[in-house]
């Protein structure tokens, strides 16, 4: 050992450096290892398997059979898939019309509230704490043909409304239920943004003669613009995959009017046991959502710079 260093000093130096670097990195890597394993086994492996299965006929007894693009061809020609995609878009649109803009208006009103602001924040957030299964139980009863909502309508002389069994209404009812639950979170996020707007802006605008509504239009709303964009993105990503409330309240009916794309995937897998086709539908969802996210995030980036 003692003779070698004089002969090959650079080599040994490099070797030492590698050993030292390895020792330096070893602990960092060991700490990260459980997470890497878990991500590989429970996220990346299923994602890879999903792509693989989409070209296969999955059969637990006879074994998998390669079918090429057959599932994809079937999906693009299927009327039910097209219907489910249309329903999903309609559901996303309703979510924007009913659930998206109200929280910001409520947040502006709450920020102006001089009494009971704390209790109102609490009340608005309460529905968020209700577990999903309780939410379904509540609204099954509220939407019952003989239930409280129809009773309230009858005070105004309006006839019985079939909230969950009318083709045109079922999806709207589902969106109302979900908006009732989710709207507190959005309201509190907007409220935090509104409270952060510097108050001297309002002072200056008032001195210049701007009315209350003008101040809201030109100071408050631009001040929370980034939140509008953020919550828009979150809502689009969330509602594009919605299906659980549909499962619980309408079962996809009446006549497939509330069958969403994601719902169809689970039906394809767990009712028809066609796992290959379900996986292919998931891959298509991935391609569409990645494209949409890239567009949305570039919009968000632009709004941040503006």
């Amino acid at each position: 050992m003692s003779a070698i260093p004089t002969v090959q000093p650079t080599n040994l130096h490099a070797e030492k450096r590698i050993v030292k670097r390895f020792r330096d990195y070893a602990w960092g890597f060991i700490f990260l290892l459980p997470a890497i394993v878990v991500f590989c086994v429970f996220l990346w492996l299923p994602i890879a398997k999903g792509i693989y299965f989409s070209f296969m006929n999955v059969d637990f007894v006879k074994g998998n059979l390669f079918v090429g693009l057959a599932h994809y061809r079937e999906i693009f020609q299927s009327g039910v898939v097209a219907l489910a995609a249309r329903n999903t878009l309609y559901y996303m649109l309703l979510g924007l019309l009913i659930g998206y803009w109200i929280p910001s208006v409520v947040a502006i009103a709450l920020s102006e509230l001089r009494w009971f602001q704390g209790s109102m924040r609490l009340i608005v957030y309460l529905p968020n704490i209700v577990p999903a299964v309780v939410l379904y139980g509540m609204w099954q009863y509220l939407y019952d043909p003989l239930g409280p909502l129809n009773q309230i309508l009858s005070w105004f002389g309006i006839d019985k409304v079939m909230w969950l069994t009318d083709k045109g209404l079922a999806m709207i009812s589902i969106v109302i239920t979900e908006s009732w639950q989710s709207f507190g979170t959005a309201t509190l996020i907007y409220l935090a943004g509104i409270i952060g707007i510097p108050k001297d802006l309002y002072e200056a605008a008032e001195i210049d003669g701007a009315g209350v509504l003008q101040r809201i239009r030109h100071i408050t709303i631009p001040g929370i613009r980034h939140l509008y964009v953020l919550l828009f993105i979150l809502q689009i990503i969330g509602t594009s995959q919605g299906f659980m409330t549909h499962v619980a309240l309408t079962g996809g009916g009446p006549n497939n009017a509330t069958l969403t794309y994601m719902y169809l995937i689970t039906n394809e897998a767990f009712v028809n046991l066609n796992f290959g086709k379900a996986s292919a539908m998931g891959v298509i969802m991935f391609v569409v959502m990645t494209t949409v996210s890239i567009i949305l995030y570039s919009i968000q980036g632009r709004s941040k710079r503006a």
């Binding site: 997470a35 009340i123 577990p131 139980g137």
Partner: protein, 292 residues
């Protein structure tokens, strides 16, 4: 609050003297009152219906307050499904969901925030890009994957997979980033091992972020019904939400008053939890929303 100490908001006190502003403000107050009523009414029907007799729930027009209080409904609810065992199952599931995934997440976040690491950018991408992939893509293959691993009908399916959560890693890492690096360097010079740095320095300093994650985990464990109802096949092993879904929400012939008594029971713990940890929950909300 006294008038002097109140900070102005959009409206000033001068605005308040104008009649049209007063009318507008009055309309706003009415709208907010209606909103509060809409938010609270479903809670009212659920709780009061759970105390009604079987006939009273279905009288038309429905009554809001019960005519007589039927506390027996709750006893019957406990008899109708085995809520006691479901509570125990959920508690066990929650304990594991906290212990195992939060350890995995904490170690990973500490490594990425405070330790020397090769290929840092690639590893960050490895974790964070999973956030971009819709769950629709891996829901079905995940189920088949669990089947292959022999984890169907086992709580390990939740305990092991729970660590695969990039959002939590990001949250904890951003908290660790706020701790001064010098603190750990000093400890290392004094001969502390990395494990000691993590367990005796980083963890005690990050109680708030782990409290937030424990609350989020509680909400998820308590509320999630779809995935557990797929993974757990033995009825005796079901946690509370899928059990209630299978036996109560999708059951047509269940007496309404008993149904509402069970719903009230399972709504109570999250409400209590919220009452206790209100500050942390709102803090977590701000973390997820405003910083995003």
């Amino acid at each position: 609050m006294s008038k002097e100490s109140r900070e102005r908001s959009i409206m000033s006190d001068t605005d308040f003297r104008k009649p049209q502003v007063k009318i507008g403000y009055g309309v706003m107050l009415l709208a907010l009152a209606a909103l509060a009523l809409t938010m609270l009414y479903p809670f009212g029907t659920t709780i009061f219906s759970s105390l009604k007799t079987r006939q009273e729930v279905f009288t038309y027009p429905p009554s809001f307050f019960p005519k007589q209080l039927m506390f027996e409904n709750y006893m019957e609810g406990f008899r109708y499904i085995d809520l006691g065992r479901a509570f125990a199952n959920t508690a066990l599931l929650y304990a594991g969901n906290v212990l195992i995934p939060l350890t995995v997440i904490g170690l990973a976040a500490f490594s990425m925030s405070q330790m020397k690491l090769p290929f840092r950018r690639a590893l960050t991408m490895f974790f964070m890009s999973t956030l971009m992939i819709p769950s629709a893509t891996y829901l079905i293959p995940s189920f088949l994957n669990l089947q292959n691993l022999g984890l169907i009908d086992s709580y390990w399916a939740f305990w092991l997979a729970g660590g695969a959560n990039a959002f939590s890693i990001m949250l904890v890492k951003s908290f660790f980033d706020g701790i001064h690096k010098e603190l750990f360097e000093a400890a290392r010079i004094d001969g502390a091992s990395e494990l000691r740095c993590f367990f005796q320095l980083a963890l005690p300093l990050s109680k708030p972020v782990f409290a937030t994650l424990m609350i989020l985990t509680f909400t998820n464990t308590w509320n999630d019904w779809y995935w557990p109802s797929l993974v757990i096949s033995t009825p005796e092993k079901l946690p509370i939400a899928p059990l209630v879904y299978k036996n109560i929400i999708s059951s047509m012939n269940m007496p309404m008053n008993i149904k509402f008594s069970v719903l009230t029971i399972i709504m109570a713990p999250p409400l209590l939890f919220f009452a206790i940890f209100q500050k942390n929950i709102v803090h977590g909300l701000n973390l997820s929303g405003v910083k995003g």
